[in-house]
């Protein structure tokens, strides 16, 4: 049995089904169609028939582009852009767990990435971690990697940065400390000669000196370290093999 309550409810449901969600729009169109039903009844139609024909009209109408739609589209577009930018930020700058090892993290843009010598040979004669020290004959922790290279091979900056230290040390020989950003720095030791000075700024791949055997070293090689917040970590995490 169709009464006023039914009419109002049916119209409301049908409008919502049309995708009209703006409250003001809904309200106004509701009044429009209910008025239409009331008018038909007044003109002599049966209530059921009046409601039915009005609902049919409602279904066939295409509602024009409304401000609510425009705002929604704009909101979604803005949200999408924001999420994309956030995603990009995370991809580039935020550390993610590396597949290589458990605790080490890797940030794609910040870390030193380039092999620090000019030769294609990437032979590591001594890896990061505990080892038997061949000169001092004691078990020690190796804080970097030893890369095999012949005397005079150019030593290159693993990434751009500022030369913090460049000089001679009894143990390290001719050495360089290069600061890349507020997190990462690299160290290069046993060089035969230096071609830069401290406070110089270098770019990734720039020559800083040559491989040698100065300091506590048994033969020409480059001792290379990567420090993450002052802590030596395994350079192989970052260096492309």
């Amino acid at each position: 049995m169709t009464n006023t309550v039914t009419i109002i409810r049916e119209i409301r449901i049908r409008l919502e089904a049309k995708g009209i969600s703006d409250a003001n729009q809904l309200e106004e169109l509701e009044d429009h169609y209910i008025s239409s039903v009331e008018h038909k009844i007044k003109m002599g139609q049966e209530a059921d028939e009046a409601l039915y024909s009005t609902l049919k009209e409602l279904d066939s109408i295409e509602f024009e582009y409304s401000p609510a739609v425009a705002h929604k589209t704009l909101a979604f577009a803005a949200l999408f852009c924001l999420l994309s930018l956030i995603g990009l930020y995370f991809y580039l700058f935020v550390s993610v767990p590396s597949a290589a090892s458990n605790n080490n993290t890797k940030s794609r843009l910040e870390a030193p990435q380039n092999w620090p010598i000019a030769t294609p040979s990437k032979i590591i004669t001594s890896e990061f971690g505990p080892r038997h020290h061949h000169l001092l004959k004691t078990k020690k922790h190796h804080s970097g990697i030893d890369i095999k290279a012949s005397q005079g091979t150019p030593v290159l900056a693993s990434n751009g940065g500022l030369i913090l230290e460049a000089g001679y040390h009894q143990k390290y020989g001719n050495y360089i400390v290069l600061q890349h950003n507020d997190r990462f720095s690299t160290r290069y030791m046993h060089l035969s000669s230096l071609t830069i000075e401290s406070c110089d700024i270098v770019v990734m791949g720039e020559q800083m000196g040559n491989v040698g055997s100065t300091g506590l070293s048994s033969g020409p090689h480059l001792h290379f370290e990567i420090l993450d917040n002052g802590q030596a970590i395994d350079p192989m995490i970052f260096l492309q093999p």
Binding site: E28, H32, S36, F63, E64
Partner: protein, 110 residues
């Protein structure tokens, strides 16, 4: 019937202003009814078209709305804003003049 839709594009707003100016305070359905009756069902203003037009006119400040609860729902009435009366009447006059000019261009074909 559909040809009218094309012609209404651009004139609808002014038609609404004219109806409101002539008849005072009206609600959407009432406006549609009036237009149909006055033109012997030739010009049918659709709900899909008039409500966006009315909202735009309100946004432009030419008309103002007020709500009333009627028979279990809320009804929105529109009327010309006194403040914009001059603008409204000049817009109606401009369309009226244009129609006159159109008439002199469109000589009857019969």
């Amino acid at each position: 019937m559909f040809a009218h839709k094309k012609f209404l594009n651009g004139t609808l707003s002014t038609i609404l202003l004219a109806l409101l100016h002539e008849n005072g305070r009206m609600y959407g359905y009432e406006i549609c009814q009036l237009a149909s009756q006055a033109t012997q069902d030739s010009i049918n203003l659709t709900e899909g078209a008039i409500y966006p037009a009315l909202h735009k006119l309100e946004k432009e400040g030419l008309i103002i709305s007020s709500k009333e609860v009627v028979n279990g729902r809320t009804r929105k009435y529109y009327n010309i804003s006194q403040h914009s009366m001059d603008k409204v009447t000049s817009q109606i006059d401009m369309l009226s003049q244009f129609v006159g000019h159109l008439q002199s261009l469109l000589k009857p074909t019969s």
